[in-house]
């Protein structure tokens, strides 16, 4: 009998914590998103679905933009992270762990500080652009900061390891002889990559993609620091509504809409691959 109880006792604190501070808050947020009123007179549960109509009609542009930026950043991450992960996994030799460590190192610096440093680095006459301009590689009036590309690049910069690690994990775990087997079976280098390595590593790409797409879509730090007019992301709106305007119902409604959109992605994905597998890749 004791044996039967053990797992429940072990899991109980974790369950309680996740239930109280994750599940209940999400439910609370849904409840809040259906109230009306304001911070001064108080909020009343009226099942006011109008909040959703308001939220979507007012902020659809920012929502759409966020998804777009998140997608862009994810694609850039894949494009940059895949070759790097590939090279480390296949050619890193005994320095594999060192390379991985180097990829991770910048992330020991606080996210906010990193983003701000990135802003300084990108400024019109800063170390990078200034140097390029002074040697004539860029026109004098060229600038990236405060534009959409700056935001997307910043997002990609901040979330790169989220994609490198899962891809590295699958590539590393993969039996490297399958590549030789492919060559042996008349595949050229390109074919061996496209037909064998890439398909095998796809779960890693998907896992990493998810782990990048979700936080980049919901991020607002990069947009506030690196963006300009017209680059506001949905996260900023949520924060302003919550913390500045104290307009909780609308804020909760937008948050819920964002989450619903992302959850849709998550569950489609989890269905396809199984949650355990995704998390295994992530745990690596």
């Amino acid at each position: 009998m004791r044996r039967k109880l053990t797992p429940y006792l072990l899991a109980l604190p974790g369950w309680a914590w996740l239930a109280l501070f994750f599940v209940v808050p999400l439910a609370g947020m849904v409840s809040l998103s259906l109230t009306s009123g304001n911070v001064i007179t108080g909020f009343e549960q009226t099942f006011n679905v109008g909040n959703y109509v308001d939220a979507i009609s007012t902020y659809s542009e920012q929502l759409f933009r966020s998804l777009l930026y998140g997608l862009g950043a994810t694609l850039i991450c894949v494009a940059i992270g895949y070759p790097a992960a590939y090279w480390i996994a296949f050619h890193g030799g005994k320095h594999k762990s060192t390379y991985l460590l180097l990829i991770l190192l910048p992330f020991f610096v606080s996210f906010v500080l990193r983003t701000i440093s990135w802003k300084f680095t990108l400024s019109d006459n800063g170390v990078v652009l200034g140097t390029l301009k002074s040697i004539g590689l860029l026109p004098d009036d060229f600038g990236v900061l405060n534009t959409a590309p700056a935001v997307v690049l910043g997002l990609a910069y901040n979330f790169l390891p989220f994609i490198v690690l899962p891809i590295y994990a699958v590539l590393e775990r993969m039996d490297h002889r399958v590549v030789e087997a492919a060559h042996d079976l008349y595949a050229s280098k390109l074919q061996a990559f496209l037909r064998v390595v890439l398909p095998i590593s796809l779960p890693g790409v998907f896992a990493g993609g998810l782990m990048t797409f979700i936080p980049t879509t919901a991020d607002y730090v990069n947009a506030s620091v690196l963006g300009g007019p017209g680059n506001t992301m949905i996260g900023s709106i949520i924060k302003t509504q919550y913390l500045v305007n104290n307009d909780y119902p609308i804020a909760a409604a937008i948050t819920f809409v964002l989450m619903a959109v992302l959850l849709l992605g998550i569950f489609t994905y989890a269905r396809a691959l199984g949650t355990e597998r995704v998390m295994e890749v992530q745990a690596k």
């Binding site: 039996d175 399958v178 492919a182 060559h183 079976l185």
Partner: protein, 387 residues
Amino acid sequence: MTATTEAPATTAAGMPSAPAPAISLAGVTKTFQSGRESFTAVGGLDLDIQAGEFFSLLGPSGCGKTTTMRMIAGFEEPTTGVVRLDGTDVTDVAPNHRDVNMVFQSYALFPHLSVADNVAFGLKRKRVGKAETDRRVTEMLELVELGDQAKRKPSQLSGGQRQRVALARALVNQPRALLLDEPLAALDLKLRQAMQMELKRIQRDIGITFIYVTHDQGEALTMSDRIAVMNGGYVEQLGTPAEIYERPATRFVAEFIGTSNLLTGTAAATTSEGTDVRLDCGQHVRIAERLSEGTSVDITVRPEKIQLSTEPPDASMSRVRGTVTDTVYLGSSTHYTVLIGSDTATGTEIVVFQQNDRDLSAADAIAGRGSEVWLSWRPTHSYLLPS
């Protein structure tokens, strides 16, 4: 199928001139460079492997078997020397343009493709038509008895089934030669024995040249037409299984293949029939070779050549006396350990295999532990080791 179906080790019949060997290595060496150190894995190989042969590379771990194989497949470039397939120099040809296929020890099946797609992989790369591909894949899967598993993923197969997929994947391309690098090492004993038979059967049916790497001598002896015993990057002996087992060219070969009893002694007298050798333990045996007196000799006798008896055997035999120190019953045979010489310190232990073709009780009576016995064997079975 392009392969010959003649008996192995003979070449395709009816050719106007002697055909080039299916695979030939000439002066091939391989030196690995890692950092400042360099290591010669293969020291100089000259090998000619005939079409349709079942050829094994046998040797201890690290002797260069895999490296040799990988040079034939094209995964390693020889440091010096030339690799030829059917007489054509392919030393600089990439693996995907060589007409040999490999079966990897880990199988290296493509985990994301079904069994059928794994097998079809090579054909698709060669742009064989869809219908033809399907036909050949089906045929090959039938051959390896996996016709009903075509839709499965490799992860859903047992070890032996995976092995067969790996084989089918290589064979379906009708390569000039199939390279198998310890294909059975990962299997358990039973499955391994079954697969040995299976492999041999398939090779016989298809008639393709097999180059087989193993470090299991039993496997090599059972399956091969010819064996190259390698050691430290060189071939120590090349020959049929019987040649290698019965006439080992070097002490290394004698000790590596099978169980050997090593007896050391000195030539005491030479007669017309051979030499009388005084063993270190004091007893005398005869060998067929004629040696000058005083020469120190190392002779080996295989355990199965020795007769065990309680009566003194015929004087024409080599014979020694000893005491049984251990018997191991193995069902079909019993292994006896017999100490010849006075005590354990100076004496030599000789292992004797006796097939249990008598009644068990009788066998037990001959040679219980501690009993005094005669060991005898024909002088021709004392094999003189080159020193």
